[in-house]
Structure formats: structure tokens, C-alpha cells
């Protein structure tokens, strides 16, 4: 029983990070119908910039406490990623707004490689140790079930950000403009919405979320690396599709479901398959679930496109 509970905790922690990253994919897809494959690498840039900022702060402002240092590092990396997100949209996607859909997909892959290569030149090929500013000492929540302060922070921060994003999209002027742009660019711009600005804002928000996710990811695992964005990026994209791409609630649900499926799948696949499969099939198991869901619900768990349903 405690093993199952622990697997659920593991799954929720991983899943909430997936969910946060998936929001970036789904927002961009909802508005542009574009899959921004560079999103995972924005996460990597976020983690590495925060790492560098924290290192510098620890040298030049050691009197700052642990949490203020982390917050300062996080803020710097969020700002850098917002600028990066805007730049990517401006240079790689805006000019291709009316091109066939495959063209921006190719530039997205190009941007992904470019970011990885630049990061490799700056930070090298080695794994970096990410400073542990929050405690990773385990707390025993229920007898036999452990969770660390970092993981609690991850759960709280992702939940807060998700709620904030939903409020932003549904209750504010910017959100209304975003929904209008998602529904129909041309009509929205005829109604006086500056769609270019709205699309840029979408990229900026998505990149800020990716930066936060990157810092959380590295804080939890204690390492950062120039290629660290690829796998979480791929998983989050899967989560977005699982939940119904373009749908904010879907991305969150998809992320959590994927995290849970992975951890419970990894933990029980051998028992469930009577020893035929083992944990080397952990990732495959998650994709089998994705396949099954898409067979029965081709538009994902909650359906595509938030705007059409809103």
C-alpha cells in the first residue's frame, strides 16, 4: 500500500512538471496550430541560466539567503527565457506565419538544434551540479511515504501557476484577445486585436513557464546539461496530445496522467505482465496508454482547442 502511495507521489511530482511544460506546447498550438519543438530547449536554457546566475550570486552576494538567491536566479532565468521566447517567435516563426504548416515545423526543429549547440558551446558537454538551495532531505508524510521540500514546492508552484494561467486566459483582456486570436486570426485582427502582439505574448508566457519548469527540474534532480530539455520536452508534448492539444485543462490533466502512468507503469509493469515485460519498457508503457486513449478519443482526453469549446 505504501509502495503504491509512494508511486502516486512520484507520479504527481513528475506529472506536474510535465503539465507545466505541456502548457507551453498547448498554448502555442491553440493559437498558431504550430508545434514548437524548441520548447524543451527553452527549459534547458532556463535551468542553465539559473545555474549560472545562482553561481554568480553565491560568489558576489554570499550574504543573500538560500531562498532569495534561488528566487533571484529564477527571476533572471525567467526574464532571459521570455526574451528568448520572443526572439524565437520573431525570427523563426513570424515570417512563416502564412507559409505551409511544415515550414515552421522545420524551423522549430532548427531552433531546437541551435539552442542545444549554443548551450553546448557555452556550458560544455559535461553534466553540471545544480546548487541545492532548497532542502532535498526526505520528509515522511505518511509512514513509509517520503516527499522532499523541493517536491512539495514543485507541486505548489505548478498548481499556482496553472490556476494563474487559467485566470489569465479566461478573465483578463489579454486572455480574451488570446482566445479570439485562437478562434480566428483574421476576424480577431478585424476586431482590433493586434494578433502579432498576442502571439508574441503567448510565446513569452510559455517560455516563462518553461524556465520555471527547468529550474524545478534541475532542483529536483540536482543536475543540468545542454541536452536535458529533449526528453521532458518530448514527454510534455505527449502529455499535451494525451490531454487534447490546444486545451489548457487538457495539458494539465495529460501531464498528471502521464506522470502517474509512467511511475505506476514503471513500478508494476512486471507484475501486471506476469514478468514478461520489465522496467526497461517504462517509456513504451506510457506510449501504449497514449495510443489506446487516442484510438478511443482521437482528440485527446478533453478534446482539442480551448477556443472552440470556451
Amino acid at each position: 500500500m505504501e509502495t503504491l502511495l509512494q508511486q502516486i507521489v512520484n507520479g504527481l511530482v513528475v506529472g506536474s512538471m510535465y503539465a507545466l511544460i505541456a502548457l507551453g506546447y498547448t498554448m502555442v498550438y491553440g493559437i498558431l496550430g504550430l508545434i514548437n519543438f524548441a520548447h524543451g530547449d527553452v527549459l534547458m536554457v532556463g535551468a542553465l541560466v539559473a545555474l549560472e546566475a545562482i553561481r554568480l550570486l553565491q560568489i558576489h552576494a554570499p550574504e543573500l539567503g538560500l531562498v532569495p538567491t534561488l528566487l533571484a536566479g529564477l527571476s533572471i532565468s525567467v526574464v532571459v527565457c521570455m526574451i528568448l521566447g520572443y526572439t524565437i517567435e520573431r525570427t523563426a516563426y513570424r515570417r512563416l506565419r502564412n507559409a505551409p504548416r511544415l515550414a515552421p515545423l522545420i524551423t522549430a526543429i532548427g531552433v531546437s538544434f541551435l539552442l542545444q549547440t549554443i548551450a553546448m558551446i557555452i556550458w560544455g558537454r559535461n553534466y553540471h551540479s545544480f546548487p541545492q538551495l532548497l532542502s532535498t532531505a526526505p520528509l515522511e508524510a505518511i509512514p513509509g511515504v517520503f516527499i522532499t521540500p523541493v517536491q512539495i514546492t514543485i507541486l505548489v508552484v505548478s498548481a499556482t501557476l496553472m490556476v494563474a494561467l487559467v485566470v489569465l486566459v479566461n478573465k483578463t483582456r489579454l486572455g480574451r484577445a488570446m482566445r479570439a486570436t485562437a478562434e480566428n486570426h483574421k476576424v480577431a485582427s478585424l476586431m482590433g486585436v493586434d494578433t502579432n502582439k498576442i502571439i508574441a505574448a503567448t510565446f513569452i508566457i510559455g517560455s516563462a513557464l518553461a524556465a520555471v519548469a527547468g529550474v524545478m527540474f534541475s532542483s529536483n534532480y540536482g543536475t543540468a546539461h545542454y541536452a536535458m530539455g529533449f526528453l521532458p520536452g518530448l514527454k510534455a508534448f505527449t502529455a499535451a496530445v494525451l490531454g487534447g492539444i490546444g486545451n489548457l485543462g487538457g495539458a494539465m490533466l495529460g501531464g498528471l496522467v502521464l506522470g502517474l502512468v509512467e511511475s505506476i507503469g514503471g513500478g508494476y509493469i512486471e507484475d501486471l505482465s506476469f514478468g514478461f515485460f520489465n522496467s526497461s519498457y517504462q517509456d513504451i508503457f506510457a506510449f501504449i496508454i497514449l495510443g489506446v486513449v487516442l484510438i478511443f478519443r482521437p482528440t485527446g482526453l478533453l478534446g482539442e482547442r480551448v477556443a472552440d469549446r470556451a
Binding site: 509512494q6 526526505p138 522532499t148 527540474f217 540536482g222 522496467s279 526497461s280 517504462q282
Partner: protein
Amino acid sequence: MKQRALILALAGLTMTASTAAMADVVVKLGFAGPLTGPVSHLGKDEQYGAQLALDDANGKGLVLGGQKVRFELLAEDDQADPRTATTVAQRLVDAGVKGVVGHVTSGAAIPASRIYEQAGVPSITPSATSPKLTQQKFKTTYRVIANDLQQGAAMARFATEALKAKRIAVIDDRTAYGQGLADALVDNLKRLGVAPVGREFTNDKATDFSAILTRLKATKPDAIFYGGMDAQGAPLLRQMKQLGIEARFLSGDGVCTTEMIKLAGPAIGADVFCTQAGIPMDKMPAGKSFNERFLKRFSVPVQLYAPYSYDAASALVEAMKLADSADPARYLPQLQKVSFKGVTGNVAFDASGDIREGGVALYQYQSGKWQLRP
């Protein structure tokens, strides 16, 4: 001095040829390793080790096939470079060497071994530890140091005997290295009568191990072995602590690095152990006297693997003694039967050419670095 000896030996050779009198026959052995470049100190070290072995053999006045023989060492520089290694190997073969001590690095030893195999010249490496070298199934390729897989055997013994671990769980990263190491450990554990309580898998790009660790936690392990590299080993160790798993962490040389200490941060402690092929000299049975003789002969201390190259050269000489011949075709089969007490320990080979009792050093993390376990 050396030249005069050569001339004398050559004179002896012509004399034996013409008069069939009892005189010295020169047997040339090759040595190949980096004698220039960043690891040249290791190459030179091994060259001296082999030289010392041949000096000792010459001092005893060995008789093969009724004739007194004198060994000479022909040293070549492979720069630890795979391409240069093949050139150098060919040069040694063309020079008519009867056997080779070398090469020093796995990258050079693997391509060179093919050339020795085709020429039928036995080669024994003192320090190349890649399992691939002997997995080529060449009849002429031997090694006097433990390979990466033999680390698994050493760790199995250590875990069950010294640590008294009974419930050992095993994780590997499904790479040739990690899987090979983990399989070797599991095989040896079973031989010692300990069945692993769990076997889980990950990959060499993973960062999250919480699912498999939670699964293993339920089996109540007292030790977890990881076959893989430090980049995954460090987060894995961290997550073990985060999940409240109080088991020792065991691994191979992929984790026996300073990177591991850096990446694992506060998670690393005295309950972390790793292995590395080869044993340090002060742990060798004849290490102390070897070091003294080495210093006297070459006026430099032993760097690292000189004792291994001493044993490699001695193994060639031993096989020649058994065959009563320096002809590679005749003494090669005898290499399989060689068994003697070398500087580094017992020297005897298995069917694939690997040393049977390869020494493996065991390290324990203590106050900021890896400390050798007695």
C-alpha cells in the same frame, strides 16, 4: 654497452648457425605504447616494466630447445592513437618479434590486436581494460589486468563477504558497459548463493529513477548496485536518499570518478562503494621489492602499470619455457597453461585470454574522495 651486447649476440647467432656451438640466441619481443604525448609517462612506465622482466629472464640464463637465449625489447611509440597503433604493430611484426607486450590503451590495443592475430604473434596488454578486446575471440590476444566485467565479480564478493549484504538489488542502464557489468555481478552473486532481490532497468539519458527505486524499496534491499555512468549514478543516488532508502550504493568504475562526487552533492557518503580494474602497487604481493628494483634499474619510481607489464612479459617468457621454444606457433598454445606467481598476483588465463584472478581495487567514499579499501 647495449650495442656491444647486440653485436656479441649477433656474433653468437652467426656462430650457432655456422658451427652449431652453444651460444646465445637473441629473441626479440615488442613493446608498444604511447612514448610521446600526454600519457607518455604511462607508456614509458610499462616499457620499463617489460624491460625489467626481460632483464630478469636474461639473468637466469634461459635455455630453449637446447640453446641459450637472450631477450631483447623493441619499443615502439603508438601515441595512444588507433591509427598509429596499427602502423606500429605492423612494424613490430615485420621486425620479426616473437611476442608483444602492449598496447597500453584500449583504443590502440583493439585495432592493433587484429594485426598480431593475422601474423600469429601473441600480444599481452598490461592495461587496456575494455571487454571488447578479448571479445574479438582472437587466439593471440591476452590481458594481465582485470577487464571491466571482472569488476562485477569483485563487487559480488565484496558485497556478500565484507558488507554481508544479503538483499542486493541491481539496476543497469542497458548500455554494453552497464549491462555487462550488472550481468557479471548477478552471475557472480548467484554463484555465491545470493539471488538479487530485484532487477530494474533505465537508460543512459534518464533523470528520473523514482519509479524503479520505489519498486526496489519494497524488496527491502540492503545494497543497490548500479551498472552505468556517473551522470545517471549521481541523480539515482540522490533519489535513493529522497525516497528514504537506506541501502548501500555500489557501482563500477563509471561511477568511481570525481564527477560523481561533484554531482551527487550531499547525497554521497560512506555507504557508497565503487570498483576499478587493477590494484595499487602497495597492495600487490611483491609490490614493495618490485618498486625498489625498478627504482634502482631506471632511477624513476613506478608510475602505475609497470608491475602489470612486468607480468605480461613474464607470461610470454613462461609460455616459451613450457613450449621449450620461442616460436610463436609453438608457444602460443602454452599461454593457456601458464600459471605463476607474478608481481601483481597469480597469472593464469581463461579461454578468452583474460586473466583468471584479475585484481580489482575497491574504493569507498570518505571525506571528499574515494578511499582505497584494504
